[in-house]
């Protein structure tokens, strides 16, 4: 377990709901639309305080993991109000305690901006997904617009002390991990995106 990352997010859990309130209100419909594509055995990575559970289709049963114990304590209250079953577990996405080919769908929300070794985490998700399985991601990434990209580069040393990196190439990282991009959509500028990847049936682990 990456204890430094765990400590950072334990500390961030105190004000997480406050800082994400506006985003949840504004971006919720996009998340709901993405999560409607969930099928089969599902793993949610980085559940946080459980703010996104409400955007899942009702009646589903899924496992939600997070590296932070404090986040999961807060998520438990929201999991209890979900009209379905959520199994919360503390786990590092880079060291998943699941067997190969376990899940049909993996879901992430603003996760791979924070995982210190994003490609390693994505490769773990690739491993636990069944052939033909999908990864559904709602992520913020580095902008390709010149001044905005530079701004996000400049802000990252500050932002990563308290939370996420702002300049990740998550689409590229998804491909490096072996996934094929099925769909990519810009939600806000070219910074907030939905990304859908597929573990092709014929491919081997990257």
């Amino acid at each position: 377990m990456d204890t430094a990352t765990q400590r950072k997010w334990d500390a961030a859990s105190r004000n997480f709901d406050l800082f994400s309130y506006g985003d949840d209100q504004r971006l919720g419909p996009h998340k709901r639309e993405l999560f409607a594509k969930i099928r089969g055995e599902t793993l949610m990575v980085a559940a946080g305080t459980g703010n996104d559970f409400r955007f899942f289709p009702p009646g589903r049963s899924f496992i939600a993991i997070d590296i932070s114990e404090k986040m999961l304590e807060r998520a438990a209250k929201k999991a209890a109000t979900y009209r379905g079953t959520i199994d919360l577990r503390q786990m590092d996405v880079c060291q998943l305690e699941f067997g190969d080919n376990t899940f049909d769908t993996a879901v992430t929300v603003c996760t791979f901006c924070s995982v210190p070794k994003p490609v390693a985490g994505l490769r773990e998700l690739y491993r636990v997904l069944k052939p033909g399985g999908q990864i559904l991601m709602f992520e913020h990434v580095r902008s390709r617009i010149g001044p905005l990209g530079v701004f996000l580069d400049l802000m990252t040393p500050l932002s990563k002390r308290l939370g996420p990196d702002l300049n990740r190439d998550t689409v590229g990282n998804v491909q490096k991990a072996g996934f094929r991009i099925r769909r990519e959509e810009n939600v806000y500028l070219d910074i907030i995106k939905t990304i859908e990847g597929v573990k092709d049936r014929a491919s081997s682990a990257a």
């Binding site: 994400s20 209100q25 617009i145 701004f151 990519e184 959509e185 810009n186 500028l189 070219d190």
Partner: protein, 125 residues
């Protein structure tokens, strides 16, 4: 609709606060290059404070991205004007120009967002 209003109000606030802070620090006759660097630094500081304060209400990225452009470029612009004594004559006029610049930048970012928003790749599966 409420977020649209919030975006514009946040941008106008950042613009006005940047113009105010530059007016306090930069004086007519100050070396323009130094004034512009100071203005940019002040604008970045203002955008961080106001952006973090309003982010929870209107969304962190929707608050911070326009605010960063207003703070960075607005700070340099206001500092250049003030160092040349070519800026607004009164503080009220400077605040109004700041607010107008903020609104214009927000409008530009929203327009750019509309052009970029949507599907980038879709294999149709």
């Amino acid at each position: 609709m409420i977020f649209t209003i919030g975006d514009y109000l946040a941008g106008m606030l950042v613009g006005a606060a940047t113009a105010f802070s530059v007016r306090i620090v930069v004086w007519p006759g100050m070396d323009m290059v130094i004034a512009m660097i100071v203005g940019m630094a002040l604008g970045m500081l203002v955008h961080l404070v106001v952006g973090l304060a309003l982010g929870p209400l209107i969304g962190m990225f929707e608050a911070m991205i326009p605010a960063s452009l207003i703070g960075m470029y607005g700070g340099m612009f206001f500092a250049m004007r003030d160092s040349m004594a070519a800026g607004s004559r009164t503080l009220q006029a400077a605040l109004a120009v700041g607010a107008i610049l903020g609104a214009v930048v927000v409008a530009g970012v929203r327009f750019y967002d509309r052009t970029l928003k949507g599907v980038v790749i879709d294999t149709g599966e």
